[in-house]
Every structure is written in structure tokens, then in C-alpha cells.
Symmetry: C2
Subunit: 233 residues, 2 copies
């Protein structure tokens, strides 16, 4: 379920059609333009009273438009050069932020490990700001991930796990070759299963070692470090 | 006002004493240890019923402890090498995140420009995770900031403003010398007044130029880019 004009526009941009779209008088002119696009695509569209729309809404203000999409996992490239693995991130805001940043950083796909927050829950979709419509996202178990790595990819990317301390400083790690960055959850970081199978552990050096960053921030800093290394290559 | 065990421990760590501290039966053993420290410092401490504590609390669960501090701005160093200027960031979560990241990145001080969210509001304090107790924070107008830059600092730091596009790519900007990084708000970015007086504009390159990052993420990526350049120097 996606609410608000921005998300509907993102769906349009990615040519992803909702199963059903509801709108009310509260919609803006800009929002109505996006609806017009879907009208021409034969999407079932219903105008409803604003107080009814608010009742199905997950937000305080739905901006007068709500659309429901079927979840269709985009296939992964067989030769990815940049993957993000999200390992039990439970905060919807952090999850959405990671997806939004992953898209801006140009990742080829995101694997969400069991135990993470539902990546399609409304809060995550909102915080993702449309990333759900363009990213390849798979929800997998650790076993499924390993199977995928062996079967799906022509060149197995190196698995790089982020740890709070005692990893290789991220700035001296070589992230130019094909890699899959593992970001752990708020409570316990990357799981032991992932730490066991990873090729390298990396840490963001800090001025004050007693500090920590939240999962969304730490992951975002790392995603853009990959981009930087390839940009400066 | 600071709620929860973690924040009280941060106050203890920084030897900052509350004006008053309230706790209830709901407090954990770990929380009680921090209280014991303040008891020995002659801080006024009162045990109250949990339902009363919850009524003054700003959160769903206060963890049984709330403390009130007077706001005392720590003086700035006259020779700072790394400042953060927050220009009209309105979201409390983004503001708190920026402060938390600024501390981890080792900034010498933070200037909050008029029009930003109240940096001492309970939500910002919570998201800051204790950064308020150790950072030098000043709330200033743009005029005040300029006066400070001329009078306060022996070596005027270069003012580097983050812009969404058309700035110098952050990775090729020289951030090794003394600088003040300006992070703009969610809605309109860095204000025109700051853009006029800045020495350089920088942009985080992205894979997809139509994307944007939230203010907390963009600022955090930049703060750690400063750290990286100095670390690799």
C-alpha cells in the first residue's frame, strides 16, 4: 500500500500499475495528474469520500490518494557489482532509509534477511520514498541467501559485513570489486551466521570509540563509500 | 529534559548534573546505578509513583527515570578544525541524528541556525543519544554566526555548503583544512543567506540524479567524508 502523491508519482515513473487506486477530494492538482496517467492504463480507480479514505490510511494525512500494489520481486542481475544485505533491521524508518540510500547509491539489488521488519509495511514504504518501485528486493533466509549466491550469480560478490569495532577500517577496504554489503540490526548488529560466511569485516572509524551510529546512518555511510571508491577509480 | 537510562548514563559520563531527577519503581538495576552516582553529588532526587512519572514523560516508556538539566552552552574552541552548521533542519529525528553523527565524527562544535527545530526538545535529545552532553552547541542567527566567525575564531574555517546538485563533488573537495559544513533543511536545503557567504558548494554524487537523500543521511555522509580525508592524510 502506497500513500501520498510522491509515491504515486514514483510508481508512474517506474511504470508500475496498482491493483486498485482510491482518491478523494483532498487530492492536489499534482496528484490528480498522476491519477490521470493510471486512468489511461485501465487501472481500477475509485473516488471515495475523504473520511473513508482516512479510515484505510496508515498516516495522519494521506494527501487524498492511496494505491495498492501486488508485490513483484524484480529479478536480480546475474552479474551484480553492488548488493545490499539487510540483516535483521527492525526499525521501519531505518529500513526505509537504507532502501532510499541504496537506490541513490545505485545498488543492483537488496536482500532482506529473515527477522527484519516487513519491507513492504506502510511505514517502510513511506520512508523508502519510492525505492520499492525501482529496486530489486528479495526477502530470504540465510540458507536461501547462500543458495542464491552459489546459483544465481555468475561472479560471486565478496560478502562484506559491517561491525561496530575491530573490523578493517572501511576506508582501507577494497570495495571497488563486486561486493555485497551486510548491514546489521539496531540491537545486535550482523548475525553470527552472516559473520561466519562473510569474506571481510569492516568498521567505520570514529573519533570517539565509545560512540555508535544508528543502523540507517552506518549503512548509508558505507553505501556511499562504495560509490566513492568506484567514482575515484 | 532527558528520559531513559542511556541518557542519564551519558550525563554521568560527562559529569553533567541535573537540576532535578525523578525516578519510579520501573527503573532497572542499571538505571539505579546511575542514580546512585548523582545521589553522591547532592542532586535533588525524588522517587515518585510510576503513573505520575509517565504523566510528565514525553515517551511511551520513560524507563522509570527523567532528569531536568539547565542548558549551558559549552564554549567553542578558538581554533576549531571541524564545525557543523545546521541550517533550518525541522525534523527532530534528523536533527538528533545529525548531532549523534557529529559527535561520532569528532566535530569541535555545532551551530544551529534560527528556523531549525528546538535542539533541546525532548525528541531531539532522545535521537541525539547523549550528544547534547558532550558537544559544544550554539543557537545563532546568520548575523550572529558571521560575527562569531570574525570574532571568535583565530583561523576562520572555510564554510562549505551542501547542495543537492551542481556543487563540487564532495570527494574531490579538499576537506582536510579547517572547515564548517553547512547542512540544509528537508524542505529547501541551505538558505540563500548561507549560500551567499559560503566559500564552496559541494554535492554528493549519486547514481541516479533524480534521487535525493534525507537531511540526516546527507549530512552524515559528508561528516564522515571529512573524517576519511583527514584519516587518510
Amino acid at each position: 500500500m502506497a500513500e501520498g502523491v510522491r509515491l504515486i508519482e514514483e510508481a508512474e515513473k517506474n511504470e508500475i500499475h496498482p491493483e486498485i487506486l482510491l482518491y478523494s477530494d483532498a487530492i492536489s492538482d499534482r496528484g490528480f495528474e498522476a491519477i490521470t496517467y493510471f486512468q489511461n492504463c485501465e487501472v481500477p480507480i475509485f473516488q471515495v469520500a475523504d473520511h473513508l479514505l482516512e479510515r484505510v490510511s496508515d498516516t495522519k494525512t494521506s494527501q487524498g490518494v492511496i494505491a495498492v500494489f501486488s508485490i513483484e520481486a524484480k529479478p536480480f542481475s546475474a552479474t551484480p557489482s553492488f548488493l545490499l544485505i539487510v540483516d535483521r533491521v527492525r526499525d521501519p524508518g531505518n529500513m526505509g532509509t537504507l532502501l532510499r540510500t541504496a537506490r541513490a547509491a545505485g545498488v543492483d539489488g537488496v536482500m532482506i534477511l529473515d527477522g527484519s521488519v516487513d519491507v513492504y509495511s506502510p511505514k517502510v514504504v513511506r520512508a523508502g520514498m519510492g525505492a520499492h518501485f525501482s529496486l530489486s528486493i528479495q526477502t530470504v533466509t540465510v540458507e536461501g541467501l547462500l543458495a542464491n549466491f552459489d546459483e544465481l550469480f555468475v561472479n560471486r560478490p565478496r560478502i562484506i559485513a559491517m561491525v561496530v569495532s575491530e573490523g578493517k577500517p572501511i576506508w582501507s577496504s577494497d570495495l571497488q570489486q563486486s561486493c555485497a554489503l551486510v548491514v546489521g540490526g539496531e540491537a545486535n548488529g550482523v548475525s553470527n551466521e552472516m559473520l561466519e560466511i562473510c569474506d571481510e569485516k569492516i568498521t567505520i572509524p570514529m573519533e570517539d570509540d565509545t560512540e555508535s551510529l544508528n543502523a540507517g546512518i552506518a549503512g548509508s555511510v558505507a553505501l556511499f563509500e562504495v560509490l566513492r571508491q568506484r567514482w575515484q577509480q
